[in-house]
């Protein structure tokens, strides 16, 4: 599998009153064509900002301060805003956490689907009527693909006329309209009921296989990652702390933070035992010292951990940012 997205030493900063926040600090990652990468971390770990940076949608006062983002052979950081616009929605698509707020309440679902095609699809017929019916046909097809019943009538409705799960499907349909090479799904299930969560994830996995696109699944649910992702990347305080094939990472995490995350999941097999939470809080991202960022919460921390720790090889296709990763093997 060839590499589709390669991010190197990405740094995204926000100028705040309290000081410069490095929300993403030296993140490097790869997504191969057709694979599913899970990105896990607590709120504020920089997982969403990393991928808003990839999309070129970081808002003021934030900016991408350093790094390269190669997508399909092009450095996205070097593109003009118009070139970047042409890539967004066509080659890289994104879905957001809550479809209720991500869909425009004042526009019909049909219009919100059609505008993507109008913005990107040069193969649409020129004539007005032919164009309209081509768009309509394609919209109906997409809604059918994500399992919305009677799509023809649904196109004329507004987002508030749909259930939460349906809205999520519609957002996915919109994102997939132009058959993107990469779908960034930011917490696609957080806002949904548990039963609907499974359906939506199945849908994404199913469509990924059918369209052969790569998926980045941003979540804080390791269970979701275990079930749907080929590889997983764990982020903490703006850095990647562990990265590797899902099964291997979950089986035997090589970073104490990953281990802590896994230990805080309730499991039926461990009934009666106490869940071990990770003590403490994510550090303030302003003025962090250049040492291991997990140090203050780490049960395995030692004095020698008070140095900057690079990503270290941790087995086949694996890396972890921990000096004691051998002790975790």
């Amino acid at each position: 599998m060839t590499v589709l997205l390669e991010v190197t030493s990405l740094r995204t900063e926000f100028a705040t009153r309290a000081g410069l926040v490095r929300a993403v600090d030296g993140v490097s990652l790869q997504v191969r064509r057709g694979e599913c990468l899970g990105v896990v971390g607590e709120s504020g770990s920089g997982k969403s900002v990393t991928f808003t940076s990839v999309m070129g949608l970081v808002r003021s006062p934030g900016k991408v301060a350093a790094g390269t983002i190669f997508f399909d052979g092009r450095d996205l950081c070097q593109l003009s805003s118009e070139e970047m616009r042409a890539i967004r929605g066509r080659d890289i698509a994104m879905t957001m956490q809550d479809a209720l707020t991500a869909l425009n309440p004042a526009l019909t679902v049909g219009e919100q689907m059609a505008e993507v095609m109008v913005a990107h699809d040069e193969t649409l017929p020129a004539g007005r009527a032919a164009r309209r019916s081509a768009i309509r046909e394609r919209s109906v097809e997409m809604l059918g693909l994500v399992g919305i019943p009677s799509p023809e009538t649904r196109l004329r409705q507004y987002p508030h006329e749909f259930s939460g799960g349906m809205r999520q499907r519609i957002m996915i349909a919109i994102a997939l309209t132009c058959r993107p090479k990469l779908l960034i799904a930011d917490e696609p299930t957080t806002a949904l009921d548990v039963t609907i969560q499974a359906q939506v994830l199945e849908l994404i996995t199913d469509i990924r296989a059918r369209l052969g696109m790569a998926v980045v699944l941003i979540t804080h649910d390791l269970g979701v990652v275990a079930e749907h992702c080929d590889r997983v990347m764990v982020m903490y305080a703006g850095q990647v702390v562990e990265e590797g094939p899902t099964a291997a990472v979950i089986e035997r995490p090589r970073h104490p933070y990953t281990r802590g995350l896994l230990a805080s999941i309730p499991r039926p097999a461990l009934r009666g035992q106490r869940i071990e939470p990770i003590m403490g809080q994510v550090p303030d991202l302003v003025g962090l010292p250049p040492q291991c960022r997990f140090h203050s919460r780490c049960p395995m921390a030692r004095p020698e951990c008070l140095v900057a720790v690079p990503m270290l090889p941790a087995g086949p296709g694996r890396q972890a940012r921990c000096l004691r990763l051998e002790d975790l093997a």
């Binding site: 309440p105 993507v116 508030h160």
Partner: protein, 335 residues
Amino acid sequence: MSLGKLLERIIQLIPVLLGVSLIVFVMMALTPGDPVQIMVGEQSITPEQEAELRRNLGLDRPMVERFFIFLANAVQFDFGNSFYHGRPVADVIAERLPATIELSLVALVVALATAIPLGVVAAIRKNSVLDRVATVGSLLGVSLPGFWFGILLIMLFAVHMQILPVSGRIGYDNEVAAVTGFLLIDTLLAGDIGAFGDALRHLLLPAITLGLPMTAILMRVTRSSMLEVMRQDYVTFAEAKGLPRRRVLYRHALKNALIPTVSVAAIETGSLLGGNMIVETVFGWPGLGRLVVESIFLRNYPLIQAAVLLYAVTYVVLNFLADILYTVLNPRVKL
């Protein structure tokens, strides 16, 4: 929008009009000044003549009785004769109404056409020079009293620069046959482009004076709601879809941002009614506003009563129209 809802609104209007009539009636009774004394002025008349006059005007009866007579006539759309004109109040008002409607509509158009684009640009270029100028300007616009600003405009453009007329609706040499009463339409119907231009020039200063506070408020509302809307997820999602910036701003952001603007515009259009009295007086505009001011000075009770009722109905109708427009912009709301 069903017929039932429309009927409901009309029924709701009844207690509003009843209340307004009562308040105006009581206020006029409490205000010192006697219409008969004002009509007679310096002339000397006998007490018998005065009593006769009072009886003719119906002022010899007790207050409560007068109120019920007024109500009984009003439900038949009979508002009596104007004390001053000696003709039915409805006729006098109908003559003056087109001038006021014309002025208000032009003021409304001027206000909307300036406020919305300014508000949008100020929001998109937040903290730019233009944003600051617009924000400070709108603060001035809300704070300046209309009569003062109007006089200032007259001094600058009419007296000093002499490029616009001081007062009135149209020059004497440009008068055309009244068909609709709207001079902008009547001059065009007469095919007199010169007169049309003259009418427009007469409209300019009063319309700006009348529309200024509204422009200022609407600009601020549009700016802040646009800023609010641009932070919403659906704007980010629209950008993530790779839509052109124009479409993100005007189709996704503006349509939602206009929802509060419409509600405020409706309320502010109501306040144009009050502004009319001042602006028409300052600019010698022969409309309803000035007629009402004159009638108050003359204690011309029947005319004041009828005009206030008309204001109340207009206000309610405006709000109703705003509600309808609101549902067009905001599909989540059903009337």
